[in-house]
């Protein structure tokens, strides 16, 4: 079932269209949601709410973007709403000063161990910074594409990306 068929099916209440929507985009949305919120249970809730809104809003989808782009826009809005409602709690047993002493900036990184450390560091960023990094480095979007998704100017996206990387290096000085 292609995208036009899915949208037409959703508009007419076709259960097969809902299944096709889920099969074609469910996993991808779930993964993006997980990267945005950092929590598997919340990611599943966000995915569910995204798909629900999509089903309800299908009559308003005008086909001006790819279906996934539209779905991801819904997910971003829900993710921000979720972040506003969720208290930011950072749990860490690493002392930043000690980390700075033991790892020189730019030092060679061991990918396996530092991947986990980098994931932890991403979890300590503000929602807006984490969001722009996910869009840039996971969704592989250009600056102008991120600007459209976030309804910002390209210059603001560029600036946000810069400060996001700076905040990340502040959390993890070895980067």
């Amino acid at each position: 079932m292609d995208e036009a068929d899915i949208i037409a099916g959703l508009r007419s209440g076709d259960a097969g269209a809902a299944a096709a929507l889920l099969d074609q985009h469910g996993d991808r949305l779930l993964r993006s949601a997980y990267l945005l919120c950092g929590n598997a249970a919340d990611a599943q809730d966000l995915t569910q709410e995204t798909l629900l809104q999509a089903v309800k809003s299908a009559p308003r989808f005008r086909g001006e973007s790819a279906l996934y782009t539209w779905l991801h826009g819904i997910l971003l809005n829900l993710s921000r709403h979720h972040a506003r409602q969720t208290a930011r709690v950072t749990v860490t047993d690493a002392v930043p000063e000690l980390a700075a002493e033991t790892a020189a900036p730019g030092a060679a990184l061991d990918l396996a161990s530092d991947s986990a450390a980098l994931w932890d560091a991403l979890g300590q960023l503000s929602g807006a910074h984490r969001e722009v990094l996910v869009l840039r480095f996971y969704e592989e979007l250009r600056l102008d594409e991120i600007a459209v998704r976030l309804e910002l100017s390209t210059g603001t996206v560029k600036s946000r990306l810069h400060y996001a990387l700076r905040e990340l290096r502040g959390v993890m000085p070895a980067l």
Binding site: L30, L52, L109, L161, L175
Partner: protein, 180 residues
């Protein structure tokens, strides 16, 4: 060709990565990088971080996927014309002994666009094989929500059926005043 300083050079890195530079800017950037070791080092460091971010995000993302149970639950949620007599399932026996958590007043809080008329108007999408929720309609302004023991962390999402389409979304969270 215009000359470029380090600040301007480094500012153009994301645009260069996007292939968004014009011929003149690209030539000026190349000329500056050819002469400036500090900027070459900056570009290399940023490229290494970008590569590590890509690898980490991809690795993390690959760890999550929809299980068959999750898929079935999601499908039930987004295809509301299907019938779910979920409270008749054996797993829901536990819910019978569950604590009555709240008596929520519908209308302004619930976000439903149509007043519910019976228990059949609802379907809960937050159940799992281990944890169940039962929703009992008492009156248009009184609904009892029960959950099985141990069901503490997940948010409760309930939709109101209205023909083939969910007409409202009801999200309750323990931190909200909805929980009495």
């Amino acid at each position: 060709m215009k000359t470029m300083n380090c600040e301007a050079c480094q500012h153009l890195l994301p645009d260069d990565a996007d292939g968004a530079l014009g011929a003149e800017e690209r030539a000026a950037l190349g000329a500056h990088l050819a002469d400036c070791g500090a900027c070459r080092e900056y570009f290399a460091r940023e490229a290494a971080l970008a590569a590590q971010l890509r690898a980490t995000l991809r690795q993390q993302a690959e760890q999550v996927r929809l299980s068959p149970a999750s898929r079935a639950r999601l499908l039930a949620a987004i295809a509301p014309q299907r019938t779910h007599a979920w409270w008749h399932a054996p797993a829901c026996a536990a819910a019978a002994a569950a604590l009555i958590l709240c008596a929520a007043h519908f209308g302004l809080r619930s976000g439903f666009t149509n007043a519910p008329h019976s228990s059949q108007d609802f379907v809960c999408m937050s159940t799992t094989p281990d944890h169940t929720v039962r929703i009992e309609w008492k009156s248009p302004s009184h609904i009892v929500i029960q959950r099985s023991a141990g069901w503490k962390e997940r948010r409760l999402v309930v939709i109101h059926r209205n023909g083939t389409e969910a007409s409202g979304l009801f999200v309750a969270h323990p931190s909200k005043s909805l929980w009495k």
